[in-house]
């Protein structure tokens, strides 16, 4: 089946941006290709949604790969890859704890760094550094050609420059 994804070469890594549903399938394909060392899972608040970035390395020939997928704010759920690479268990728990991305199928998705009774996910852009909600923050609309579709040839959907916030 054709995975809805966009592949590009960035510095010395090839980067796949993939649709959330196909994220798990791509990870299984990469695992089969021999990518066995999970370096990290980063989570970014893109303003229109939350992005999960999985950094992998292949021990045999030290090839590096990055898998990105974007999920909307209202249901930020992605498949967990802890069974493929146990090393990302804490990274996923931290992404859930600080950014609010839930991972379907994670063995015990609890808060890793903050205490259990916290309700907010502080790393989201809607809060300022002190954890207080920013009154004038609005989620941006979803980019027209979704990040995992090939951009239409004439114009490139450039990153919207957004002024740094906070004091």
């Amino acid at each position: 089946m054709e995975l809805r994804m966009k592949q590009e070469r960035l510095f010395d890594e090839d980067v796949y941006t993939v649709h959330p549903e196909d994220y798990r399938a791509l990870c299984e394909k990469l695992k089969a290709e021999g990518y066995d060392f999970p370096r990290a899972i980063s989570s970014v608040d893109m303003g229109y949604g939350l992005r999960v970035v999985l950094h992998l390395t292949r021990m045999s020939d030290l090839a590096k790969v990055e898998v990105r997928t974007d999920v909307p704010y209202d249901d930020p759920v992605v498949d967990s890859v802890t069974d493929l690479w146990p090393g990302v268990e804490w990274h996923e728990r931290e992404a859930y704890d600080l950014m609010g991305i839930r991972f379907r199928g994670h063995p015990d998705l609890r808060r890793l760094l903050l205490e259990e009774h916290w309700e907010i996910h502080p790393l989201q852009k809607r809060y300022d550094t002190g954890g207080y909600p920013l009154p004038d923050w609005q989620p941006k609309d979803w980019p027209d050609p979704a990040p995992w579709e090939e951009p239409p040839p004439p114009e490139e959907p450039e990153e919207k420059a957004e002024g740094g916030e906070g004091e």
Binding site: L10, A40, V53, G87, V88, T129, G163, G164, G166
Partner: protein
């Protein structure tokens, strides 16, 4: 004479739950492990972290890149300038800043000096956990010499904030080369004593050989890196895998040990001290006494794009994922702590070991909680 068998009858004895909590002499900082004990043997180990979560990533989003560097110092507070390098390298890639050759060499000398300092702190505290007070006194004395050298050049002892975009912040102190050479001779005279005190110590043999064995595939799958991974037989070292700064033109070996137990982790760190001394000696000849120490960095930083950049700090692979949005403040910065990956093997290694072994295993993982909790 028939011998009595004292095998525990399952179901007859209860499990005792104990807190190896945030304030514990052997947890190298603020880690809490809830341990279920069946007599001496550990049946359950649930680590809890977050007691030193200082919201690095959220505060760094409100700081410019040059202000982020002092924050990275405070992540792995035992290995000083090693934490500054990933952010500096990532931003230099994104901005395409040229670093002069001499600046790279100075950075690598400091990188390896702090590796020796970090391994000395590890040796002191690990032996303290096993009950030996003497190594702590000697190792911290040697570390004071290193901190003296760093302070002369960079101005601060432990968290010097010395690297910057394009090189280093200040030129070397005039008698830097002589001090480092003297220190290396002193250390090489002292290493046989450390070998005798630590590696050939029968108590250390008894308490670490065959304890906490981490098989190779499990280590790779768990995302473990650094001496813990190399002690399980995997020769993965970011200095060789993705070389940076002056590492390509310096030859050194990567010490690995096949058997993956706590003694192997002790042994690998020892060999790394020798390798670091070798690297510094080569660099002392190569580095010109006088020359440029900082390249041209733009005054107004406009950093855009994403970059994941990793270095091999004394605990493993310390990585940073910088997302720039065109301003001088990072839009998002994610630190991948080296000890963060290494600490995930606690349940695998603790379960089945004795409680006193757990202390030796934890000290061989060498966690530092600034970079784990961030």
């Amino acid at each position: 004479m028939s011998t009595i068998s004292l095998e525990p009858v399952p179901g007859r004895t209860d499990e005792m739950v104990v807190n190896m909590g945030p304030q514990h002499p052997a947890t190298h900082g603020v880690l809490r492990v809830v341990i279920g004990l069946e007599g001496e043997r550990i049946t359950r180990a649930v680590p809890h972290i977050g007691y030193l979560h200082r919201n690095h990533e959220k505060i760094e989003e409100a700081r410019s890149y040059t202000q982020v560097i002092p924050y990275t110092d405070r992540m792995d507070y035992v290995s000083g300038t090693q934490n500054e390098l990933p952010v500096v390298l990532a931003v230099e890639d994104l901005l395409g800043i040229e670093v002069p050759e001499r600046a790279k060499q100075i950075r690598t000398i400091f990188f390896e000096l702090f590796r020796i300092a970090s391994h000395l702190v590890w040796m002191g505290t690990a032996m303290l956990d096993l009950g030996a007070i003497t190594p702590f006194l000697y190792t911290f004395w040697d570390r004071e010499i290193i901190l003296g050298i760093v302070e002369k050049t960079a101005g601060a002892r432990m968290l010097p904030n010395y690297y910057t975009l394009g090189g280093v912040r200040r030129d070397l102190h005039p008698d830097f080369f002589k001090d480092v050479a003297d220190f290396l001779d002193h250390l090489e005279r002292r290493m046989p004593d450390y070998e005798h005190l630590v590696l050939e110590n029968p108590i250390v043999h008894a308490r670490t050989k065959g304890v906490g064995v981490l098989p190779k595939e499990r280590a790779i799958a768990r995302g473990v890196s650094g001496p813990v991974l190399r002690a399980s037989g995997v020769a993965y070292d970011v200095r060789k895998a993705f070389p940076y700064d002056a590492y390509p033109d310096v030859e050194f070996e990567i010490p690995t040990s096949p058997d993956g137990d706590t003694y192997a982790r002790f042994w690998v760190r020892f060999q790394e001290i020798y390798q670091s001394c070798k690297i510094i000696r080569q660099l002392l000849e190569k580095t010109p006494k006088v020359g440029p120490y900082k390249g041209k960095a733009p005054a107004r930083l406009r950093v855009s794009g994403e970059r994941y950049r990793a270095v091999e700090n004394s605990r493993g692979e310390l990585g940073v994922y910088v997302v720039g949005d065109g301003t001088d403040k990072p839009y998002r910065i994610k630190h991948r702590g080296a000890a963060f990956g290494n600490l995930q093997v606690i349940p695998d290694l603790f379960i089945g070991a004795k409680f006193s072994d757990a202390i030796a295993i934890l000290s061989s993982l060498d966690p530092v909680f600034g970079e784990i909790d961030r």
